[in-house]
Symmetry: C2
Subunit: 678 residues, 2 copies
């Protein structure tokens, strides 16, 4: 008796023998090959497309004849006529095996396909979504054997998909009857599985085969901005991205001022919860509109946020986070519904996953960075800094990961800076100061040219030069230091000390004039002594936090630095190091990870296993509390100097020579004036 | 070496040997003796009180010495001083075993104590509540080992109560932090367990030891009235009972008219859902006030209701229940929260259990009757009739149970009856008509005397005689028939035919005057021909439903009849049988079960195992659909006669002789006038 035909799947390499006439989808399922199907082999969803390969395959030891698969049948012909089937493709549920065959499963037919992140790094996200679609054909009601419609849906899932038990989101129940009748008892259901529930949960249903897609939101809920990616949960494709201001800003710029607001104003926490949820609704609505989809198709949302935002999102008074011992109401990951959070743009049954918090000051946003950047898998010692109003700092390698947060304040985002503004067209985001002439040149957002290049003024006429954004102010301070206009203690020199009228007196201190746009009706853009102090406070906090983790780890240097956060992506590593924001490393060892927290949210949105992974990882992270660590204060004071009072920064010295100036005219500096150069 | 002391618990009889010094509570737990404790043995909750018995116990083979238990310790002394300990009682967690001892566990120290139902039958409810209290001492937060407060609560439950995992009702989370701090990290939590969830669910928390009790509502949500019992979930005691009108009545008197309202008015179902939920909130609030408890202590609610009320409660359009095949959206039992139903009087985390429905016309109320009356455990064949606007009918014994519902309409409740009214003071609820004089005497609600007894008129002067209620109209029709004023076809005779002026012409038919109160400014209370027709329709539907079940079971008689429902409790069995409402059985085989549906709700509220039981039982019940069964129509027509056109009613004949009259004056009756007696 002849052997059954051999079926070999690529790229998995899985192989097995099956009786003549076995559908390719059946063979794939029995071998555990990742071949998608929503309709369960009924030839209507087209998710199980495969490409048979013909000819000799010495590698696999088979020759595939032209008649290895059954001929096209009516179902395939109709599908091709109506929708078009790519050349060489077959429907895996319709084509059956006649002889030895090699079957390629194209990426788009794999459930667990890989999606390349948009960010610079080559990391990919493997699709393993929590919510999946199942097409079912449900028995019609029978008066003589009365059962509920839901019970017959369950019976169909058991018989047709081997799903023995489900639970039902209550808000989905009311819509089930009309859907069943509209679909003629053929419907598609969305089932959500999570580790937090014993069985999959029915969260939506559509008449017939649902082809409108399934979407999720990955939301990075920051103190200042709320950023979200609308993602297709079947393909992993980002359909739309957007961000809006966090409306809580009117209750306080930074986290602690919001906690104070809640403490001082009864019901203040409730009000802040209300406005942030409204903003999320608005954002979700805008994204759905931009992507051209119904908001009812957004069935999952993942949140990452710092602990205060975490509590305010959940409707928990953040007061405990404002005082030692900074106790979180809950630190574990949470599985909720849109209804729990009173989100009204999303369907009430939409599933919400909130990443775990690491500690009272180190939130789910830091967990998301850990998920995205995986310090625990690094061979060398990596310092990851997520720069924002609060900085989340991770230090680690394969042996151990440590985390802390540091209250940098909003200066790095251009707030509390005299000419500061958000990163928007017209904002100076890069600046160079000639060490000889002390004259500046700069670039603004919206124009690629430097201000001393031809055409710059014409191209920026529309926006004007409106202010200076976060990365601009960092460069400005670093350039002032490099050009000898700012001494290590952070004092701006006067015109006589510096030899330039751009350093002009303002009250009892000096400011540096970058650009005077008053003739064009614009502002005078300066760096004031107050701006320098604000940046010094911010960078000292950041550096001290990093240094504290290094102390705890017992090291004086790190192997590499990753700058995360939307802002981190725009920081010039050299200027950051001149400023002493980050520890001294070779410049090529400073990389940007883009919005790593947002990427972590996207990973958790697309991949269920990643949720399990980060829930495990956060438990293993060593938490360091900056607020109560005496050495933090010491590190903070030493980090106030630019770049640093005591740490040597040898790598920085290889590329930059910083003028040894001092502009302190009082008698208490340690030899300042004598060492003045200019 | 001497043996360890022997400890014998009564009433369980469980026994075992324990080392000297073992606390009684510990011994009880190790033996699986049902001894309550909320504080886990800390000597503060007093739930584990026991009574040691001293002297000789030949039955148990032990002598108990006076020093069999340790002396009173400080904890017991303080407890006795502050709260008072009943004579002979000890705290099981404080008293430890020194020698052989017999320990009695009084009923109030048992978790699974038995509670006698208020109803006439001797049946008891065993306490096995889904929600229980646990006192825990929680670790304080530690900045160096940061975990959330909730995570430390979970750790305490695991360490102190051996509860390895819980889930948390989201709405409970926000309140946890203040409770922990107010209680100094000592709190009591309420955990709810159900078959629908894998692990117990945290649903409430109080500072310190919670001694304010734990309450539940058993709600019988009827088409006309909503009745509820507020029950102490620790003792089973009913603290308050009340009922209010279902405000949906303004959308339609009976179920089908409400379904029609939903069909004809877009959004009508939403409106009906809103008003019924508001009414439940009002009722819950009134009951809490009456019992003197905070509504926040009502942590569970059980609902029983017919399928239309079931759907309207849940916010599901009932339209499918108004047309064949009468498909329920879901038939299984449901576990929800107060928040799911937008109930605002109860805490959002209050757990709601809705009993399963049996079929599209046979609801959770019928399931509750089955739970209360247990036809499936009956040795003889019992017919259970729950009389209301819709009648639920169950027929069965140990071998098989059948169920149907029948649309009797509201006539049995006094609605659509010319002089009809609700059962309230002033309503006639019993009537006798003298067969010779044809004169009536009657009783009214609020007065024990008959109208021909001395003092009747004085005692009823305050209320007046205002109308006739459901049981009154049934008696009136039966008495008219017995007195020869009504013929088997349901025609009231005229004055000439009957020889009494109380039978007076009204239009083309006759009415019977019961009482003329017009001189006192009251109504003329009559029974009209229309009233007779309404009662005939109702009783025919009821009888036909019962008969259909008997057909399906293959029997012509039943062994006994149980009348359930608040109204069923007031029906006179003899009159019901004269009317032909129920099949012919010996009169002493007709009993009343009171509000069996409400009792079923109370059982499900107090006993978790009962929920599992009824969920199993409803699946085994044979459902009979009256609306599509041709024989139902035939039975209905035959049942129109009083008592019945074809069924012989031999038991009835033993006690009542019905005059063989006919008042049909047209030529089409079969010999009517010739057989006239009067």
């Amino acid at each position: 008796m002849a052997q059954d035909p051999l079926v070999i799947f690529t790229p998995s390499g899985k192989r097995g023998r099956f009786p003549v006439g076995t559908p390719v989808l059946t063979a794939a399922r029995q071998l555990g090959v990742d071949l998608d199907s929503v309709c369960g082999g009924r030839g209507i969803c087209s998710k199980c497309q495969i490409t048979p390969a013909y000819g000799d395959f010495p590698k696999h030891g088979v020759s595939v004849a032209e008649d290895a698969l059954s001929d096209w049948n009516d179902v395939e012909a109709r599908y091709d006529r109506v929708r078009g089937l790519k050349s060489g493709r077959r429907l895996g549920c319709q084509a059956s095996v006649l002889r030895d065959v090699v079957i390629d499963v194209p990426a788009e037919s794999q459930v667990h396909r890989q999606v390349v992140r948009k960010a610079a790094t080559a990391r990919v996200i493997e699709m393993d979504p929590a919510t999946r679609l199942y097409y079912i054909e449900v028995e019609e009601p029978d008066m003589h054997e009365p059962t509920g419609d839901l019970e017959r849906v369950k019976r169909a899932l058991k018989a047709q998909w081997d799903i023995p038990e489900i639970s039902t989101e209550f808000s989905t129940l009311a819509g089930l009857q009309p859907v069943l009748r509209k679909g003629g008892w053929k419907i598609t259901v969305a089932l959500h599985k999570s580790d937090h529930a014993a069985v999959p949960r029915l969260i939506s249903a559509w008449p017939g085969l649902h082809e409108g897609g399934l979407f999720g939101l990955a939301i990075d809920l920051g103190s200042t901005t709320i950023a979200a990616h609308l993602t297709n949960l079947e393909t992993g494709e980002v359909k739309a991205s957007s961000g809006i201001m966090n409306p809580q800003i009117r209750f306080g710029e930074d986290l602690m001022s919001r906690v104070s607001y809640a403490m001082m104003n009864p019901g203040g926490d409730v009000e802040m919860t209300r406005v942030v949820r409204e903003a999320i609704d608005t954002l979700a609505s805008e994204l759905a509109k931009e992507a051209g989809i119904a908001p009812s198709l957004i069935l999952e949302t993942v949140f990452v946020c710092n602990p205060v935002m975490h509590h305010l999102l959940l409707g928990i008074d953040p007061v405990e986070l404002g005082q030692a011992p900074f106790a979180l109401a809950t630190s574990n990951a949470l599985s909720l519904t849109a209804r729990d959070l009173d989100l009204t743009t999303l369907p009430a049954s939409a599933q919400i996953y909130v990443l775990p918090c690491i500690a009272g000051h180190v939130g789910a946003d830091a967990a998301a960075v850990a998920l995205s950047e995986e310090p625990g898998k690094s061979n060398d010692l990596v310092l990851i800094v997520d720069v924002g109003t609060n900085a989340e700092i991770l230090l680690g390698d394969k042996t151990r990961v440590l985390a802390c947060s540091s209250p940098t304040g909003p200066a790095f985002e251009g707030a509390q800076i005299s000419s500061g503004q958000r990163a928007a067209p017209g904002a100076i985001d890069a600046i160079r100061i000639d060490p000889e002439t002390k004259e500046p040149r700069f670039r603004v957002i919206g124009c690629d040219k430097w201000s001393d290049e031809d055409g710059f003024w014409e191209e920026t006429a529309a926006t004007g030069i409106t202010g200076i954004c976060g990365s601009g102010i960092i460069e400005a301070v670093a350039e002032l230091r490099t050009a000898g206009l700012l001494d290590p203690s952070g004092l701006i020199g006067g015109p006589a000390q510096t030899g330039t009228e751009r350093c002009f007196p303002e009250g009892r201190t000096h400011s540096y004039l970058i650009h005077d746009a008053t003739e064009d009706g614009g502002p005078r853009i300066t760096v004031t002594q107050g701006d320098i102090r604000a940046i010094q406070l911010a960078k000292s906090a950041l550096y001290a936090g990093a240094r504290l983790l290094m102390d705890t780890r017992g090291v004086d240097t790190v192997d590499r630095v990753v700058l995360a956060g939307a802002f981190g992506a725009h920081i010039s590593p050299k200027h950051a190091m001149v400023l002493g924001m980050i520890p001294d490393v070779p410049l090529d060892k400073v990389t940007s990870a883009g919005n790593a927290a947002g990427t972590g949210a996207r990973i958790a949105l697309c991949n269920l296993a990643a949720r399990r992974e980060i829930e495990r990882v956060v438990k293993e992270i060593t938490k360091v509390e900056t607020a109560i660590e005496p050495r933090f204060q010491e590190h903070f004071v030493n980090a106030n100097a630019i770049p640093h009072a005591t740490d040597p920064f040898p790598e920085l010295k290889k590329i930059v020579t910083l003028p040894n100036v001092s502009f302190n005219t009082s008698g208490d500096d340690r030899g300042g004036r004598r060492r003045r150069r200019s």
